[in-house]
Symmetry: C2
Subunit: 395 residues, 2 copies
């Protein structure tokens, strides 16, 4: 009796559910400490102490009627101003509170802006490998979904293919850097060239093409690599941000959109984003968390922890002969499977109680994603297993 669309989502979601279940069953059979679950992008670092301090301070200082009550759907005015100021300081931009819409995490923000922009049969374009949820959103909005093939081995966007594939139906291009699943950061040169192509194609087609830049991993960057701020390269850019990773607040559902004044049809886009929060049913981002993140704009989790995991895993695996993309950001390692069939490889890894996600899930077969937002002990346990797996394959 459920809707046809949801029937489809339930059916396609069952593969992921099955993976979860398998992990649980493995833990029951082999002991949780022997199962190496690299499948989940769930931060395992505690939120910085500043978050707890901020919550308690806010509870003491802000009247409950204001703190827990409705506000403008876009969020508290002071919070939006504080966030704009912080972005300006970090990225040399010139936003004000009116450019910020507080959202229920990055997923909420993506939905607000996709809901705002897309008519049925408009096209969303993504670069492989891509976060699988983008495809679900496209289906949900009856949008076409076009995948630009991966550029191997560096996994920067494949701009030659991109230019060929752009067409008058393309309305939204989703960027995701630092990237899930590769950990790659799109360079300044890549972004500048991509923007140049889009400006040219907008003119050629006489259309507007929007970049939606999904940036939950912006702060998860190793060795001061620069993550270009896309609004500085391309006018029709909307930035989607979340505190899920930078403050380990994934369950709290708090993030924001940046909608610059340079965007085509700014007033309508802002008005629509405001109403989309209501139409989608969020109404507004959770109020206490809005006030909380505004007090923690200079805090973040201990990136050194993920860095140590990154190096232990990258060095360990490449020494065994696995081919990995060196990750500059996020907490994922992207590995070429030593056999062609990534799903088969994931199945083989399971026999060693290693859980991975096949590249096929990200539109890029022949690879796996290894999430290293896990304990260092799991990596120590996993490495001999990976070695045995490689040995099995070579024999």
């Amino acid at each position: 009796m459920i809707s046809k669309k949801m029937e489809f989502f339930v059916a396609s979601g069952s593969a992921i559910r099955a993976m979860f279940e398998e992990g649980k069953q493995m833990a029951a059979v082999y002991g949780a400490e022997n199962v190496c679950d690299f499948s989940l992008g769930n931060p395992n670092l505690p939120t910085p102490a500043a978050v707890k301090d901020a919550i308690i301070q806010i509870l003491d200082q802000v009247e409950p009627v204001e703190l827990h009550g409705y506000m403008n759907n876009s969020g508290f005015a002071d919070v939006r101003e504080d966030i704009a100021r912080s972005i300006n300081k970090k990225f040399d931009t010139a936003f004000s509170g009116e450019n910020i819409v507080m959202t229920v995490g990055a997923a909420g923000g993506l939905n607000v802006i996709l809901k705002t922009l897309l008519n049925p049969h408009d096209q969303i374009m993504v670069f492989a490998p891509y976060f699988g949820e983008y495809r679900s959103y496209a289906i949900n909005y009856d949008a076409d979904f076009a995948v630009v093939p991966a550029s191997i081995p560096f996994f920067q966007p494949n701009l030659e293919q991109f230019e060929k594939m752009l067409n008058p139906k393309t309305k939204v291009v989703i960027l995701n850097s630092p990237n899930n699943p590769t950990g790659v950061i799109y360079t300044k040169e890549t972004i500048a060239e991509l923007a140049e192509i889009l400006y040219r194609k907008q003119k050629e087609f006489n259309t507007e093409i929007y970049i939606v830049s999904d940036e939950p991993y912006r702060e998860l960057v190793y060795k001061d690599m620069e993550v270009p701020y896309i609004t500085k390269y391309y006018d029709n850019t909307v930035v989607v941000y979340s505190y899920s990773k930078s403050l380990s607040l994934a369950g709290e559902r708090i993030g924001y959109l940046v909608i610059p004044n340079t965007i085509s049809d700014f007033d309508m886009v802002i008005a629509s984003a405001n109403i989309a929060t209501r139409i989608l049913g969020y109404v507004n981002a959770p109020s206490l968390m809005q006030k909380t993140v505004a007090k923690c704009l200079d805090s973040q989790i201990d990136i050194g922890y993920y860095d140590r995991n990154r190096q232990a895993l990258y060095n360990g695996l490449t020494n065994m002969g696995y081919e990995c993309t060196y990750p500059d950001g996020a907490f994922y390692l992207w590995m070429k499977t030593p056999i062609e069939d990534d799903k088969l490889f994931v199945g083989m890894a399971k026999k060693y109680q290693i859980l991975l996600v096949p590249g096929t899930f990200f539109g890029c077969p022949g690879y796996v994603r290894i999430a290293y937002c896990i304990s260092p002990e799991t990596i120590i346990t996993a490495l001999p297993k990976f070695e045995a797996l490689m040995k099995e394959i070579k024999e």
Copy 2:
């Protein structure tokens, strides 16, 4: 450049925005203390102290990685169990945690279940007067929207018309009791008869018709009036609940769905509701607030405060000759406009710095909604203004 659907919503939302703006301008001209704003359903009572205590206790006791991290999309298992137990105790039901899906407020819950159930052109049926947002949701899901005319003067559902209007396309019937905008509680007898009609029509059409019972005002009830728990009357019922009003947590976006085992296609509905939270972009209800409400299941705001407002306003207005529906619940007074045109009446009231919402917004012209979740001082200020307004009309 925004989507056609959002263009429509932006255009139709402008009336409500205009009302807000007018309120602000009035306050600037006449002084905020002279403006009597009865237009907003925004709780003005502080959250009970138990909420702050619970938050601090949780911050001290629960590990941040669990507290602020992802959980099952349906919510924390312990929270869902606690809520099920609390419902069972209050309403003599037999739910378990598996029947509960934590949601981003009632609006989030409504969207999860509508997304789950509706195919395009399925029909949603509501009873006038109804909360206007239902219509927006119907449009958003490309559903047909059928309004059963009001039953005057008691505003119980008009069951005679309802029975005639039900048809094979009807998939969802939304109930909202205590009702926004009337404050009326649908009686046991009404619900029993309504259920009987639905059982009969399901059989006649060989379809499934679901009641979606939107209950954010369930606890806002005066003098121990009983609010029937709909799952006990009709198998295909989904209950939508929110803590926005009972704990004055409207900005925190926290509520839940009850999906009983008796519902047709239970497993698929639950599976779909779980995925709908993701597809819609909420992912899960805010995590700290989930744990918080589970610790406050026996707390609620001081209903006596709203009761005093209710009586002051009802008695004051009826003594002047206004015809009002005596509200048994919620914090709205429903008043017949002394002239036929409710929008014109709202315009006249503005000249006295009184802000009301025309019944037309709720599909029921000739009435206005007066929200009394305001300070008693506003009522004292307003009554002479209402009197002057009545005098003007009578002259």
